[in-house]
């Protein structure tokens, strides 16, 4: 395999970059300030088939590989992390269906998800079950008469949970606590109009402010068995396999944020004059920019390599996805912090986008597994019995 992007990948990336620069970048500051979900950006992404990237061609998608999806997330996140997350979440929450859904389920939902007519969210985390996924308390019990499932409980920190039409929910289906922890969960698709489903609140956040992070409640939500993804008791496994494939999407968001901050800092250092010359000519500033570039490029190449390995079906998918997310998340935080430093006081105020990028970067160290969980995954992969 040539160690370069294919012509298709480069062409799709460039098309998304132009769309991001010309149509999304001018909206980014307002999206952050108003903290409102950018429906116009969602329509833009849908209208230009960006949301169709992760779906198989037979269901109206573009059949893009993981690397291509990540190239798109990176390019959008470079100008607006909230907007990049629209694609990343659509992909994340569709993965359970892609990995474990039946052909009927894919045919039922993928065409509308690929066209962007429907949005989908991934509801795994609970107030008391964050890193410890298997501790989920949301329950689904079987109605013996109809075969339906009745879901009770609540989910917290659900990205785009309040704007999604479909919610992929993980709930405990084991009747007794004696069942192994990792066999307790099952996976369901809840439709937003189902009675008993509700949005309790939207969080006020530090960053990615236009992406609504919701607390969702399930009060006796009746879900037909046709909406169950995979086998009963397979939920934990589906969630883990999903995250193994979705974490590169967050790494891509992180690389995009870092690149966006570096672009602003480089341009500023070129234009800003102090002591009679552009500050870029001061070695301390030049060295900072060089380090930011080297770190961003290193994170990017690790991400691309991880995507390539995962697409090729590498046996250590979990490790690849964890290392790229770990490195990219930390890179985004460091590079955006340094970008604020290069801009000095101007970096700290909203006249320039780097303060927003610094706030946005933080989430990439937290969601889809904290950086500590990434290290746990990597360490387990290293020490696993061979």
């Amino acid at each position: 395999m040539p160690y370069r992007l294919s012509e298709d990948q480069a062409a799709l990336r460039d098309a998304v970059r132009i769309l991001a620069d010309e149509q999304i970048a001018p909206r980014a500051a307002e999206i952050d300030r108003t903290a409102e979900f950018p429906w116009d950006v969602k329509e833009l992404l849908a209208g230009h088939d960006v949301l169709s990237l992760p779906y198989p061609e037979q269901y109206g998608g573009l059949g893009g590989d993981l690397l291509t999806v990540c190239l798109a997330v990176e390019q959008i996140s470079r100008v607006c992390a909230t907007s990049g997350l629209i694609l990343a979440v659509q992909e994340l929450a569709s993965l359970p269906l892609l990995l474990a859904g039946s052909d009927d389920q894919k045919a039922r939902w993928f065409p509308d998800l690929a066209s962007g007519k429907l949005l989908i969210a991934f509801a795994l985390t609970e107030a008391e079950a964050g890193s410890d996924v298997a501790a989920a308390r949301t329950r689904a019990r079987r109605d013996g008469a109809t075969g339906d499932w009745i879901i009770d409980g609540s989910k917290r920190f659900i990205s785009q949970g309040s704007v999604a039409d479909l919610i992929v929910v993980f709930a405990a289906t084991a009747e007794t606590d004696e069942t192994a922890r990792h066999r307790r969960l099952s996976c369901f698709v809840v439709e937003k109009d189902m009675p008993g489903f509700g949005v309790e609140r939207i969080e006020h956040k530090m960053g990615i402010r236009g992406s609504p992070t919701a607390e969702l409640s399930f009060n006796g939500v009746r879900v037909p068995d046709a909406n169950r993804i995979g086998e009963v008791g397979q939920g934990f496994e589906i969630a883990m396999r999903t995250l193994d494939r979705s974490r590169p999407g967050i790494a891509a968001q992180a690389v995009g944020i870092a690149q966006g901050a570096l672009d602003v800092a480089s341009a500023y250092a070129r234009d800003r004059t102090q002591f009679g010359k552009p500050i870029a000519e001061f070695q301390m500033i030049g060295a900072m920019l060089a380090d930011m570039d080297a770190q961003t490029e290193a994170a990017r190449q690790l991400l691309y390599k991880a995507c390539t390995e995962i697409d090729a079906g590498a046996p250590d998918t979990a490790r690849w996805s964890a290392v790229c997310k770990l490195v990219a998340g930390d890179t985004a935080m460091r590079v955006t912090t340094d970008a604020v430093q290069v801009l000095g006081g101007y970096g700290y105020i909203d006249e320039f986008p780097v303060e927003r990028m610094m706030r946005d970067a933080k989430i990439t160290q937290l969601y889809e597994g904290t950086q500590q969980i990434q290290r746990l995954v990597i360490a387990r992969a290293l020490t696993a019995r061979r």
């Binding site: 298709d8 799709l12 998304v16 209208g47 230009h48 088939d49 573009l62």
Partner: protein, 265 residues
Amino acid sequence: MRIVVLVKPVPDTASGGERLRPDDWRLDRAATTATVNANDEYALEAALKLTEAHGGEVILLTMAGTGATDTMRKALAMGAASGVLVTDDALGGSDIVSTTRVLAGALGAMEYDLAFAGADTSDGGGGVVPAGVAALLGLPYLSYAAKIEPDPAARTVRVNRINPAGYEVLEAPMPALVVATQALGEPRYPSLKGIMAARSKGLETKALADVAVVGGDAAVGGAASTTAVLSAEAPPPRGAPRVIREPADEAARQVVAFLAERRII
């Protein structure tokens, strides 16, 4: 309805590398990435809208170096059905007259109801190639179109032609050549599906020998140029910008004083 759109690859000014070669003062196309001439994109957008409304297809016609296929793929990604590229080493350095005769020869061999072109190109900027092509082929020439209304049944086309006072309405039989303006509406961004579809669309490459150049084969290309660039100079560098960071009232006063000093207002 078949609409041929003349598209030219031009240096992408956003890439910042455009320069003339110091030996012959021709554009150094290797130093820049190429993009579709912006005015041609308006023509293409208008053509796509019309074929979407009336049926039919849009075909691209380009005369340029072999690298033009990349630029033409971008135009195909917007929705054109196929393209014809006339490319030949012998055509390097063609002046407006040569270009016009070759394009007229290539267009004359195609089937079409309408031919569209942009008002001018951002590199050469001559702005007379479309008129020349129309003249050589004896086509009605409808320039500066702000609105294009074909009537495929009656085989006529009606155009609102911009003039200093507003516009005049012209009508001509098809086939005709129409010069598009930005008043026709913003060109679309290619969709990702459009980009993927463009990969398998037909791009026909023609050498000079494949084209029945209007006016004979002998006098085209750089050797036959009727004009020559003797020298060229880069524009003088701009001075540093003056940034005013004062409260609004004071800033406005200083801006007005600055402009008045230079007799701009």
